[in-house]
Amino acid sequence: STVNVLRYSALGLGLFFGFRNDMILKCNAKKKEEQAQYEEKLKLVEEAKKEYAKLHPVVTPKDVPANASFNLEDPNIDFERVILNAVESLKEAST
């Protein structure tokens, strides 16, 4: 009869949707867990980076005043700064 067919259809539908929703939730939980693991790893890397920076502080080149005299024999000479300073001074001289 019609009602019986409808009843069994409802049963089948419920079975299908229950299974599907279960699968979807499982998938989402798996993805979330993977994301959490990845983020934990990222956090560890960040912490390691911070610790490394603390242990090996980067020697920042001090702001050498422009037109300062430079020593070419200096092993720690900052050539970039020297050249930029030279260019700056040339520009100033031309204007």
């Binding site: 009869s1 009602v3 067919v5 409808l6 409802a10 079975l15 299908f16 279960d22 939980a29």
Partner: protein, 115 residues
Amino acid sequence: MLSRIQNYTSGLVSKANLLSSKALYYGKVGAEISKQIYLKEGLQPPTVAQFKSVYSNLYKQSLNFALKPTEVLSCLKNIQKNELLKYGAYGIQLIGFYSVGEIIGRRKLVGYKHH
């Protein structure tokens, strides 16, 4: 002392016997009632042909109603209280069957496993 223990155990045994016989009785009653319901309601699973015929009939009816909206209105006006109750009961049955199916599908009685 011994007699007291004997009394206690015999009482326990008789109680257990009573309980088990009651459980057996009500289990049989429940089984019989469900059998009666199964037979009277015609709950045996329908065949594929029945599925096909019912759905084609429903499709035809809905097509007919969609083509003639006035008929739907007259039908709704003519509906009786008893019929309304009957269809409501059917709706509740359908909801129940859907819920049972969902329970089987998600393999858990209440709620879902993974959140």
